[in-house]
């Protein structure tokens, strides 16, 4: 893929290709980010809500 954009096709090819790559990278990155955010939440479920019956009396 060259650097020059001459046609609409060139433009679409470049921007869409880059966008699709970024979306895939972002989605994979979100998995790690979610793990980073949640790995210390021992007493909560995956949605961040309290697990019932464990700490409430």
């Amino acid at each position: 893929m060259g650097n020059t954009i001459n046609t609409l096709h060139d433009f679409m090819l470049r921007t869409e290709s880059l966008t699709y790559i970024m979306i895939v990278v972002a989605l994979c990155g979100f998995i790690f980010f979610w793990r980073f955010l949640s790995e210390r939440d021992d007493d909560r479920d995956h949605l961040g809500a309290d697990r019932t019956g464990e700490h409430h009396h």
């Binding site: 954009i5 433009f11 470049r14 921007t15 880059l18 966008t19 970024m22 979306i23 972002a26 979100f30 980010f33 979610w34 980073f36 955010l37 949640s38 790995e39 210390r40 949605l47 961040g48 809500a49 309290d50």
Partner: protein
Amino acid sequence: MPVRKIVIQKPALTPFNVVAGIIVVVGLIITVIRFTQGLRATTNLSDYNPWGIWIGFDLLVGVALAAGGYVTSAACYIFGLKRFHSAVRPAILTGFLGYALVVLALHYDVGRPWRLPYPFIVQQGTTSLLFEVAACVALYLTVLFIEFTPAALEWLGLKRARSIVVKLTLVLTIFGVVLSTLHQSSLGALFLIAPSKLHPLWYSPYLALYFFVSSIVAGLSMVIFEGSLAHKHFHDKMDAEHLREADGVALGFAKAASWVLAGYFIIKVIGIAQTNAWGYLGTGYGLWFLVEMLGFVLLPCYFYAIGAREKNLKIIRRTAVWTVLGIVVNRFNVGLIAFNYHLPSSERYFPHWMEIGISVFVITIGILAYKFIVTHMPILYAHPDYDAH
């Protein structure tokens, strides 16, 4: 067991009251000038810059920061996260006051404010985004007012009316989320009509999405920010439930805000890729854009994540203030700084001191109203005569 109340008389002439009083007096004087001598006497607005800070700050920032109402009530009543229940009333109150003040500020900005109801009764103009914004803001202000009324009705002792309104909670919440989704995004979509006026780094076909997603962050951050202020200044008004849940609300909302900010950052970068605007990043505007993206999006995203992970409320509260500031910066950039970027500096807009005066006046009215309501009505505590809804 009877509860004994000890009433402590506070002095009326506190520094807060004196400053607020001066601002209100000056604001009222400017109001008289605005409505007797018109926009020219009080603003620096022109044909090039018909929207100043009364739109860029009072409306765009006001609506975004009032998003805490729909975010919190949706989390509690729609997603079933009942541990955020104690945050709903303060958030609804902030949202209601925020929208009420947006409408108040709009009366100053619109040349002929008595024509504000025209979209509904004279000419609909349904193809205009402004019609959609007007309809949604009017309806959502009504929804917020009804959502707020249980607190006022409890204060007034109107049990029957309160029980009727409480039954509408879920319907009102759903209605509120729908209306907020529509008009938060439409405020961004308004700028789609001027692609050549808005700098390419801020202009994007996804502007509507940006405004909506950032409003969620604004709402979450405002609830944390307002919660910390209430904790500091109205601690004596908070009951055990509010005090117990306050930390959990901050931690949960910080986690959510971090997650949404990460998503917001990604879609902003994708927007740059879609319009192939990378070349502008090396310019002066590009530097300012990077300050916004790295300093006010990525940085708070990281600190919210650290705060939620480490359960560090100090970091979370400071990050909330920074994020609220970031929302102000973003709305200023889109509405004022990156707008008309091609004009020579002599034609660029800078607000008149009276415009700033009215904005400060409007904020002060909001703080005074909040203070009065929180002091008198069951906002930060559950009324002992009523069940929670």
